[in-house]
């Protein structure tokens, strides 16, 4: 092989070395090895699904599909249902995205399009550092700093001014869906910002420059050229962030209040699937109890799967539309 690369006069034979055999030997091994590793990941996933199903079986057998629609979680009477946890997971993630998407998108656009060059490096670095903070630390910060802040200025102001809306009714505990959503947004912003920034940066300069040459303002360039060009990438970034928000455990457990109920109000305490499992798994005693917790995990798995499929369909459709219009 070395001889072939160096381009010696005899491409096949140098120093008694048969490059043809060597090449045939090395490449298949490499490609098969990487294939095995790829399949190992798939195998791991399948293994996990199998184990989850086995452990959840006592609960699946007892509750059937009613598990997903039931509202009670009663360890005494052994009646378990997942709906409040599913609701809590989806609601807190939705709040996180509503807060995070404008901030992240704005930050990404600023960093790529509008920032002076001396800001770009340090700002990007700091945003990525935010992603590196362990979630327990963010949870502690949330409990001691964010929750009092949410209780006093934010929830009391929202309750006063917008209390006629069902979303802002109820006593301001501090802990609850709003605080959980805000904490999740803190964790999700760096992910979405970093990915969006990379995607926006990949827009070819020719696209921007031709728009500017036609007399567009900066805003029009961003709105009409850059963002439509990156649509699928931005959706991908948001889905990545959503994935983190759905599964986040420690930070959410500390600020969500651990109340197993559905409520229209954002001020109310609630539960997410991950926080329920984290709170109760080490002490669940009976088979049905453990089975219900594992079934919650399966439900989260399914929810994540559905959201990812929807996201892929969305991205595929956006790409098709883009191709059709080009």
């Amino acid at each position: 092989m070395k001889a072939a690369i160096l381009g010696k006069n005899e491409p096949g034979r140098a120093a008694g070395f048969s490059t043809r055999r060597h090449r045939r030997f090395g490449d298949p091994i490499f490609s098969n090895a990487t294939l095995v590793l790829a399949f190992v990941i798939v195998g791991l996933l399948l293994g996990m699904i199998i184990v989850l199903n086995i452990d959840a079986f006592p609960a699946i057998r007892k509750f059937g599909l009613g598990f997903i629609t039931s509202l009670t979680w009663d360890p005494v009477k052994e009646q378990f249902g997942a709906l409040p946890a599913i609701f809590g997971t989806l609601l807190s993630s939705a709040i996180a995205l509503i807060i995070a998407i404008p901030i992240s998108l704005g930050a990404a656009i600023f960093l790529v399009e509008l920032a002076p060059s001396w800001i770009r490096g340090p700002a990007s670095f700091l945003i990525e550092m935010l992603a590196a903070i362990p979630s327990v630390i963010i949870g502690l910060w949330g409990l001691f700093v964010l929750v009092p802040f949410v209780r006093s200025p934010i929830e009391s102001w929202l309750g006063d001014k917008l209390g006629f809306l069902p979303f802002f009714q109820g006593p301001p505990f501090g802990v609850g869906f709003l605080a959980a959503g805000m904490i999740l947004s803190v964790m999700v912003i760096p992910i979405i910002t970093a990915m969006s920034r990379d995607v926006i940066r990949a827009v070819p300069a020719s696209q921007r420059e031709s728009m500017l040459a036609l007399g567009a303002t900066r805003w029009e360039v961003i709105r009409r050229v850059v963002l439509p060009y990156c649509r699928s990438g931005l959706v991908g970034a948001v889905i990545l962030g959503l994935g983190r928000a759905l599964g986040e455990t420690m930070a959410v457990t500390m600020v969500i209040g651990n109340n197993y109920a559905i409520s229209a109000s954002l001020f109310a305490p609630g539960t997410t699937i991950a926080s329920k499992i984290a709170s109760e798994f080490s002490e669940a005693t009976s088979d049905v109890y453990i089975g219900s917790l594992v079934e919650l995990a399966l439900v989260l798995f399914a929810v994540t799967l559905v959201i990812n499929v929807i996201a892929r369909l969305l991205v595929w459709r956006l790409t098709r539309v883009k191709e059709a219009t080009e």
Binding site: V40, P75, V76, P171, V175, N258, E280, S282, E283, S286
Partner: protein
Amino acid sequence: MKKSTWFVLLTSVILLASVVAVSCAQTTANTVTPTATPTVTASPTPTASPKPTPLTTAQATNLNGAGGTFPAPLYTKWFDVYDQLTGVKINYAAVGSGAGISQITAGTIDFGASDAIMTSDQQAKAEAAGGPILHIPMTSGAVAIIYNLSGIPSGQIKLTGDVLAKIYLKTIKNWNDSQITILNPGLDLPDMPIAVVHRSDSSGTTYIYTNYLSKVSSDWNTQVGNATAVNWPGDIGGQGNAGVAGQVQQTPGSIGYVELAYAIQNNLPWVLLKNAAGNYAAPSLEGTTAATVGVALPDDMKVMITNSPNPDAYPICGFTWILAYVNQTDLAKGQALVNMLWWAIHDGQQYGTSLDYASLSSAAVAKAEAEILSIKYQGQPLLSR
């Protein structure tokens, strides 16, 4: 790619998936996850202690225990003193009574600690795992009902058990509800919603508290029940006694239940509760001791002392037990365990007073002694009088 390569790859994937599945199925049967131990914020210096029970010839060994946060302040103190006296290091993880029960059943610890009596299910599982298991009482403590209302000092608000149950059932939602103000004519209770704080983990403190509520409120008994983890009607869940104390401290208008030591150490105000004899009692050492007097103690010491008829008793008290198997499997550990238990029920009791845990009455000590003397190794009792 060639067919043979596909075949090899597919087999390897299937093999790998099944290996992963089997090993995961094995480990999920045994996994327990302990949470961090709480720190005791104030502990008094030990006074000169009497000579401890001398160790047998087996050398000092280490013991591992886990269980409720209810006795954690006392056990932390005990094990520290015991280490200084004898050199035996005992690790205690305050992970909740439920976790203590499941871990002793799994055999991952040498002794468990619980303020909840094991259910017949749990007892059966433990006996299947390691043989007969004992509930050895160590001390008793009170569950204080704490609240967060500015301007109302501790020991002023009076509540009955029925009203307390209604607060926790969320049928009484406001601090100035007529059912509360009628009991407190002199107090200016604010027009604030009551934020109810409970335990989010499985807890012996919850067991004692729900045991009391089930006795004083038939509604509570039918709707929620008595267990280490129940279906709370609301509002906020905290992790461990420390978590509940923290939530109450942070949330104005909240009410919660914690073991007395946590209320004292965090300067949290508590309410006065009406006991079965009709007197309003504050959570205290004296109230706890009074609750144990006059209660018939069975040999296995599985008895709840909530709502005690004694006129001086505080209504929400409970024993806390150490769970130990009768048949020990390790000689050195078994001897260390019985020596520690014997010390705890005799010399260790003095340390409880400063932390507001009530010492065992002489009747309770006698029963506990009988239980400890029944612990054996290979058929031979480990301790003899």
